[in-house]
């Protein structure tokens, strides 16, 4: 037995020695880095311009939840330019598969990348004490970041209890104006063309257009049946194509699964709004009329895209990025009259389509600096450089003379470069790196002009029209518009939501709302298709059953929890 007892002792001592060694190593590291960064910070606080010390090459590790499959280790043209200007090289790591899991893993591992972009999962890093407060760093070393955020700075604060800034919101641009109407209800151009450009404003107009066209053309030229309207209900696409439109057609702003009263901030599970029952009743009616694709709730996403690509589907209720793959196939075949236009369809004429309801600056997701970062000052200066006018133009437009030129004070993309950008997007991105670094620091949104009077980003009305096909332009002309957005109610017709958007409010993982939401989602995703596919005379009974199930699953408790979250957000952002 004595023999056996030696083992633990030996093990223990090995572990201790290893621990000691590790401890010493750690000390050496932490001892070295402040001394290394101290001179740099001293000199930089004296002058904001780059000193040679600031450009000392440094490699920082970077973790992002968003995969960039084209990432070229900063060997692209933009990347090289950034390294030249800042001395920083990024060693990037991306989340593959479930990003939330990867983030949780990193947060609990204790080995943190230097720069962390963890979107909605940043709270895991904050809970673990992995990221540092940036308030002072921004104040001292980041004039450009401060300038870009301007009076939105208080939206950067983490919570009412903790006013620290852990993440620079980089996923939304400051002052962003959306030009692209990518939502609403979609109709193929051939439908409106054939019917002489009828007014498409209410669900009835929309239904009639589909009905009339389908009566004239029940099949395509190969004899396959044309499909009136198909929905995309595979997994989370359900939100985009089935449930969110219910809010939209009844004039509510998109706040995720809950609707928030703009005046009282009362939160309702949006399916409980009586108006929405009528929207689903309309879908039920579409199904009974045979205008709704019978497979809507059975098909998988790839089948849906294939259907769109076949050109047989007359109408969609979806977002452009969700069906773009299918539509691109139509474009590639030159079937432009089978591509889609966007119409601000609502239940009745008195309801305004809320697609452009302004949210204000949407802080939240962005870039954080970890506590193990060897040189936070250099890091924030690097991020600050990206947020400078020079940096932002570089990230969006590339390098002057190489990718764009300035003619009479107007910044234009060189034609050959722009053609490659559109037609050879992947290789173009790999070589130039344009678009790789946009989400790494503070930036202005689309539609904001820099001091020279040019747009910071490439997305502007002019650029949009250039990408339209001739058919699309013709349809728009007949509706008296130049871009689809012209058909929709404008931002200034709505009152800005002081909480941004409720779907963007992070829910702490120990909040009961997470589990309640999942349960409610299960019920909704099950019962909504059932209600739509029911016989019209049974619709009311199914709906009553649905509401009863929601009540049983504590929907009102979930509403209260969310109301609290919304109120906290309003307080945090506006006090």
């Amino acid at each position: 037995m004595a023999k056996q007892r030696k083992w633990p002792v030996l093990l223990m001592s090995t572990a201790l020695i290893a621990g000691l060694l590790a401890g010493c190593g750690g000390k050496n590291d932490s001892g070295a880095s402040p001394s290394g960064s101290a001179p740099a910070s001293g000199s930089s606080s004296a002058s904001a311009s780059a000193t040679p010390e600031d450009l000392k090459p440094i490699t920082l590790t970077y973790y992002s939840e968003d995969v960039n499959p084209n990432w070229a280790n900063m060997q692209d043209e933009t990347g090289k330019y950034i390294t030249e200007k800042t001395g920083v090289t990024l060693n990037a790591e991306f989340a593959v598969g479930d990003a939330a899991q990867k983030s949780a893993l990193i947060a609990s591992s204790g080995k943190y990348p230097d720069i962390i972009s963890a979107k909605g999962n940043i709270n895991k890093f904050v809970d673990a004490g992995a990221v540092i407060d940036l308030t002072d760093l921004i104040d001292k070393y980041a004039p450009n970041i401060k300038k870009v955020y301007g009076d939105q700075m208080k939206r950067l604060r983490y919570s009412n209890e903790d006013h620290a800034i852990y993440a620079l919101p980089t996923y939304s641009g400051v002052g962003q104006i959306n030009f692209e109407a990518g939502g609403g209800f979609e109709l193929q151009h051939r439908v409106v063309k054939e019917l002489g450009y009828p007014k498409i404003r209410t669900v009835k107009d929309y239904e009639n257009a589909i009905k009339q066209y389908l009566a004239k053309h029940p099949t395509d030229d190969k004899g396959n049946k044309n499909i009136g309207l198909t929905l995309n209900a595979d997994d989370w696409h359900m939100y985009i194509s089935v449930t969110n439109p219910a809010v939209q057609t009844t004039g509510g702003s998109d706040d995720g699964e809950y609707s928030v009263d703009i005046n009282t901030q009362k939160v309702t599970y949006h399916f409980l709004r009586p108006e929405e029952k009528e929207y689903f009743r309309w879908l039920n009616h579409m199904n009974a009329e045979g205008l709704l694709d019978k497979e809507s709730f059975v098909q998988k996403y790839d089948q849906y895209k294939a259907k769109v690509a076949s050109g047989r589907v007359l109408g969609l209720i979806d977002a452009i990025w969700d069906y773009a793959d299918g539509e691109n196939a139509l474009k590639a075949e030159g079937k432009f009259d089978q591509t889609y236009g966007h119409y601000p369809v609502t239940m009745d004429e008195s309801t305004k389509d809320p697609s452009f309801w302004p949210t204000g600056f949407m802080a939240g997701w962005g870039v954080a600096i970890s506590k193990t970062n060897p040189d936070p000052v250099r890091t924030i200066k690097f991020l600050d450089w990206l947020a400078s006018d020079e940096g932002q133009v570089l990230l969006n437009w590339g390098i002057e003379g190489k990718h764009y030129t300035v003619e009479n004070g107007k910044r234009v993309m060189i034609k050959e470069v722009n053609d490659r950008r559109i037609n050879d997007a992947t290789n173009f991105a790999k070589e130039t790196g344009i678009g790789f670094y946009n989400l790494m620091s503070a930036h202005y949104g689309d539609g904001v002009k820099d001091p020279t009077g040019n747009y910071y980003t490439l997305k502007n009305p002019q650029q949009l029209v250039e990408n339209y096909s001739d058919v699309e332009k013709e349809v728009l002309k007949n509706y008296g518009a130049t871009i689809w957005k012209d058909l929709f109610p404008k931002e200034d017709e709505f009152k800005v939501k002081p909480w941004g958007a409720a779907w963007n409010i992070p829910i702490p993982s120990d909040n009961d709302a997470t589990v309640l939401d999942e349960k409610l989602k299960n019920i909704t995703w099950k019962m909504i298709p059932k209600a739509i596919l029911a016989k019209p005379e049974e619709f009311d009974a199914v709906w009553a059953d649905y509401i009863a199930q929601l009540e049983k699953a504590d929907v009102h408790k979930a509403e209260q929890l969310h109301e609290q979250l919304v109120k906290d957000r309003v307080k945090l952002w506006n006090e």
Binding site: A100, K294, F297, S509, E518, K526, L533
Partner: protein, 321 residues
């Protein structure tokens, strides 16, 4: 794992006598022990060492803190699990699909193996075998896509065929009806795995001594009699071992097919335990809850395994432990 039992009988016999005897035996069998050591280590590292992580099922675990700094909550996670109505629904679905799969896959693949065994044309036999086990290598992601398209009501093969035969007037919405889902999963599973599962039976049949068949023929036994009295008893122990192991895995069926074939209309029938733990555990960052489900899984599996083993031991004198 295989190497462990070999020296064990020798050791256990001597334990009864004297303690020094054990060391004597151990010394004598030292090479056997050394040979088994890597497997013992392997089993320890991969199967037993991770078990300490089960502790988090009794905590409210949050990332970033060590396991000792977490909040202990006792059996709260288990309470939450057993109080959830949904849990019983997914348990029902899991067990139903497993049992259906178990019965179908055993009967079909054994029948198939017997038919293959009776085939005489070598070329034909090989061809059939290869074709039949090919679907096994098709991933569920692809297979489910094939299945949904075949069963589609928009130009799906199955509906077209049935309409052409005049059996139905309108295309049937196969994938949209909850009560058909279990059947569809079972049939797809049979299509995918029959050929593969038959291989092991064919191998067992190849081990049956040909003299037995010759003797039976001399006694005037027909083909069917030969199958009944020689082939089936010949592979009996193989079947029993596989049945016991499958019963042990009854609720660990994975979720691929249900996840890929299911949709919102059949949710009540398609959700299985693994999907449930994914949705309500990991995806909501409820790691402790997920672990609790896992523990439940393991306990049930162990109970099932030992029960099945015990029953077969008593009934047929065959068992794996």
């Amino acid at each position: 794992m295989q190497a462990v039992p070999t020296p064990h009988p020798a050791a256990s016999r001597s334990v009864g006598a004297k303690k020094s005897n054990f060391w004597k035996v151990a010394l004598r069998n030292r090479y056997l022990y050394m040979m088994s050591l890597p497997f013992v280590i392997w089993a320890f590292v991969f199967s037993y060492y991770p078990l300490w992580g089960w502790l988090i099922a009794f905590q409210k675990w949050k990332p970033g803190k060590s396991i000792w700094e977490q909040k202990w909550v006792g059996f709260d996670q288990f309470k939450a699990l057993f109080q959830d109505d949904l849990f019983y629904q997914v348990l029902r679905n899991t067990v139903a699909m497993s049992v259906m799969g178990l019965i179908a896959s055993f009967t079909v693949s054994i029948t198939f193996a017997i038919m293959m065994n009776e085939l005489r044309g070598m070329f034909f036999k090989r061809a059939v075998q290869t074709i039949s086990y090919l679907p096994h290598f098709v991933s569920w992601a692809v297979a489910s896509s094939i299945i949904t398209r075949m069963l589609s009501s928009d130009n799906g093969v199955v509906n077209d065929l049935l309409m052409w035969l005049g059996l139905i007037q309108q295309p049937v919405q196969w994938m949209g009806q909850g009560h058909l889902f279990w059947g569809i999963v079972t049939v797809s599973d049979v299509w995918k795995e029959t050929g593969w599962n038959a291989i092991i039976y064919l191998a067992a049949m190849a081990g049956i001594a040909p003299e037995l068949y010759e003797a039976a023929k001399v006694d005037g036994a027909s083909r069917l009699r030969q199958i009944w009295h020689i082939t089936l008893p010949g592979i009996r122990s193989t079947i029993i071992i596989l049945v016991i192991l499958s019963i042990g895995n009854l609720i660990n069926t994975g979720f691929e097919k249900q996840f890929l074939l299911g949709n919102n209309l059949v949710r009540d029938y398609s959700q299985v335990l693994d999907l449930y733990s994914l949705q309500y555990g990991i995806q909501l960052s409820r790691y402790s809850f997920g672990t609790a489900i896992n523990i439940f899984n393991s306990v049930v599996s162990l109970v099932l395994l030992f029960t099945a083993n015990g029953i077969f031991k008593r009934m047929t004198k065959e068992s794996i432990i």
